[in-house]
Amino acid sequence: MNINQSGWRPGTPVAADEAIAYPTATGNRALMLEEPLIFEIGTDQTSGVDLPEPDADAPNRLGSFARTKPTGLPGLSEPETVRHYTRLSRQNYAIDLGLFPLGSCTMKHNPRLNEKVARMPGFADVHPLQPTDTVQGALEVIDQLSHWLIALTGMSAVAMSPKAGAHGELCGILCIRAALEARGDPRSVVLVPESAHGTNPATAAFAGYEVEGIPADSDGRVDLAALKNRLGPDVAGVMITNPNTCGLFERDMKTISEAVHAAGGLVYCDGANFNAIMGRVRPGDLGIDAMHINLHKTFSTPHGGGGPGSGPVVLSEALAPFAPLPFVTKHADGSMHLVEEENAGAEFPDSFGRMTAFHGQMGMFTRALTYILSHGADGLRQASGDAVLNANYVLRSLDDVLDAPFGAAGPCMHEALFGDDGFADGLSTLDFSKGLIDEGFHPMTMYFPLVVHGAMLVEPTETESKGALDQFVMAMRSLARRARDGDETLKTAPHHAPRARLDEALAARKPTLTWSEPGG
């Protein structure tokens, strides 16, 4: 495994550069810099850390398994490392740079106080298996966050350990499965409406259920009659997303829950969109039995380029006994108690087990609690109100130039949905989105939900000012006009990004997933 044997660098001028006005020898363009891979600039002798010289006659108890060949890991000095990653960072769009209108993914401001708190040594530098007497404050963070989540959702309990939204979905479905098995009534089918998240059917199938779809009505909501017709003794439950992926509140949610319960099933709600209703509607009042909460969407923990997430699951009284280990309880004297295998015993016999090695995403809990305390009950209610206000403002500012399939179905919640109806032939939602990149915005969620052709799902979030929204609306109106007029230059957008359109088909057809020496 070689490092940097050939001296090859990217930035070697490529043929297409000849077509660019004012080509440069390096391939760099002033502040837009090309950055090689660490394997092309590092060496196996370089290191950016100082460590003591190992003792030449140190004992060796590695047995016969001591490493005999180098790892092939390149090293860089500290300044080279800082420069490498700083240069890479400049090729990323981020919420710190501008509006991120990703429907359902919810990219809102990430307060830096959250980061400061998460790095306090009492949170960042404690081990998950320290004696519980030495981590009472950490357990209290979990307990306080749990208290808020339970109060805001009107539920009975919360499982904190799931590590991401999809992991939370799995946790909720396993609680349902454990509850049904405990009552001697294992069932085989989970119903998933079309307007639910794509991860929902995957989760139900992974937990061993057959998945059946339920259509949406012409309004973009669950077809209530179709759902009721399908309920029966084989249906374990329904997985529903509310507000749904069309950005609409499921008006019949309580009726749906009652019907599912009457048929002996349980109701899972995908809580990815809870940020739209927090402080205004309590899912417990809607009859929901389990719902995960993506802390990054609703409570502003950073997305980090794709994780880590965190997906606590709130549970109804019926499901609370089945929550996974470990969890935190509070004694009468105020001391915090950690329930795990060692002491679950007879008091919590129904817990379905463990989903992850330790207690979940503590670093996300401190951030989420910090955000929640900063907002308070009044601020959280205002945040959901402003999120919905912003989405409706975008919807009404664009529905004369873009197709809004459910625009007449009442106010949208936190996200506005548009389709590609009205675009000139040959121009797609993809072209439109890439055009938005040139305007300085991250594209919206594309081709989702599936019920709308060429869907564009726009979620501005509550942290965008009216000025930022007006600029976004202006860009969207300009693009809508170009898409309607058949502007061919959209097909090759983006023109001003660090890279032009990337060949994703090539990447999948001939996967190159690790670096190797060219020709090596």
Partner: protein, 453 residues
């Protein structure tokens, strides 16, 4: 409320555009009897930055931080020095506040980093391909078992006795709801890792054998021998590593015959964080298995101008696309933790990682020798990397609590890890890293001597 930009004048103007009377009117689809007309009762109202920071600091102070005490805990979560550069880089807003890189033209920073990360992990593990990370080591381990089931069309998993009990617990929990059976064993307090006992349990129904390297008692099993035995029966070997620093000193599992190597990457760059977020690592030896692999993958390609670039690829395996036919529960990765790992690994390089491993091992050997001189205490392991097990005739759980009262975090009692196994209650897992000082080791030895006398 400092995070909300609108003034009431803005709100009025926007409501006017929408044609609504009030923000509440936008919630008209919520049945009125379910709509709250004010903030949820019983919860406090918003607080200033200063007040929140004070509250959180007070909670933080109730915890004993590892840096403030002689500290010897490990078992899948390790305390190592993290260079200041790592935290600086992950706090850059362009990394911290970016989204999943589905729009590659404006996400090359994250994508190139992931491509580099994948290559680093593959090389560390001695494998052909690594993915862009998993939730943590325990979920990566379970997903590897599910992957082995898909490849071998068999459902019986054999776990070595030295596999982390929490990893076993995650697997048995999830197996209960799927088709697999998980054959587990409990470690016995013997110096060797008991390869014969594992090999005896492999049969024609076995999809995979799961072996931790080094194992939960700190012992270093003979992976090559177990790999040969597994392959003889048509089973795969899954090697699990919870301490990546060890691989600076030990042969890579992929080079010893492991088909899938998974592990916890927390030790490099991430920090303890009371258990999460952590970093699942996942790699495969055989590139032909790539379409059975869970998790995100970043691949190299070119753009329309012929320039090298990177994209997420082979995503047709993923949940949001395959829906009920998806092969894993993974819908994200641990991108920011992967960045921390990658930055720290880049600072180390081969030279730094080897040296870090040597420092860890040398200090751990010193500690084992020193503790071995404490009357009534026996060091179990003859081989280990930076953690080892000591035994004595007392319940280690109480001993750990007693020493914590004296300000020494002595290690992890095997009784806490294996509460149902009385035979292990006199065992203590002791972990030593480069952050331990000789004074800390001396303090631990003296405290143990006093407690045991």
């Amino acid at each position: 409320m400092r995070y909300l930009p609108h003034t009431d004048i803005d709100r009025a103007a926007m409501l006017d555009t929408i044609g609504a009377d009030s923000v509440d009117a936008l919630f008209s689809d919520v049945p009125s009897d379910l709509y709250l007309d004010g903030p949820v009762e019983g919860l406090p109202l918003h607080a200033s930055e200063m007040a929140v920071e004070r509250h959180m600091r007070r909670l933080s102070k109730k915890n004993l931080a590892a840096a403030d005490t002689p500290f010897f805990l490990g078992a899948g979560a390790y305390r190592h020095h993290v260079p200041a550069t790592v935290d600086h880089i992950i706090q850059r807003g362009e990394f911290l506040t970016a989204y999943t890189p589905y729009q590659p033209e404006i996400a090359q920073g994250t994508l190139q980093m992931l491509f580099e990360f994948q290559t680093q992990v593959a090389r560390l593990y001695g494998c052909a391909i690594a993915n862009a990370s998993m939730y943590d080591g325990s979920t990566a381990c379970w997903e590897a078992m599910v992957m082995a089931e898909r490849i071998t069309k068999r459902t019986r998993v054999v776990c070595a006795a030295g596999l982390h009990p929490h990893y076993v617990s995650v697997a048995t929990t999830l197996a209960r709801f799927t088709r697999a059976s998980v054959d587990t064993a409990v470690p016995v307090l013997e110096a060797g890792a008991g390869e014969d006992a594992i090999i005896d349990r492999i049969d024609e129904e076995t999809s995979c054998v799961v072996v931790q390297y080094p194992d939960i008692l700190g012992r270093i099993p003979d992976l090559q021998r177990i790999a040969d035995a597994a392959h003889d029966k048509g089973a795969l070997l899954i090697a699990v590593n919870t301490e990546p620093v060890a691989l600076g000193a030990l042969e890579a599992p992929g080079d010893l015959g492991a088909d899938i190597v998974v592990g916890e990457g927390q030790a490099i760059g991430v920090g303890l964080q009371f258990g999460g977020p952590y970093l699942g690592l996942f790699a495969i030896a055989n590139p032909r298995h790539v379409r059975q692999m869970p998790g995100r993958l970043c691949g190299e390609t070119i753009d329309a101008d012929g320039k090298r670039g990177f994209v997420l690829t082979l995503s047709t395996r993923e949940q949001h696309i395959r829906r009920e036919k998806a092969t894993s529960n993974i819908c994200t990765n641990s991108g920011l933790c992967a960045l921390a790992f990658s930055v720290h690994m880049t600072l180390l390089g081969d030279a730094g990682l080897s040296r870090l491993a040597a420092v860890n091992h040398a200090l751990a050997c010193k500690a084992a020798d020193r503790l071995g001189r404490v009357p009534g205490l026996k060091v179990l392991n003859d081989t280990f990397f930076n953690e080892f097990t000591v035994t004595f005739d007392r319940d280690a759980r109480q001993l750990v609590r007693d020493l914590a009262d004296k300000g020494i975090l002595a290690g992890i009692s095997l009784g806490r890890l294996f509460p149902d196994e009385a035979s292990l209650s006199g065992g203590l897992l002791v972990t030593v890293t480069e952050t331990s000082t000789e004074e800390d080791i001396e303090a631990l030895a003296n405290a143990l001597q006093e407690a045991l006398s």
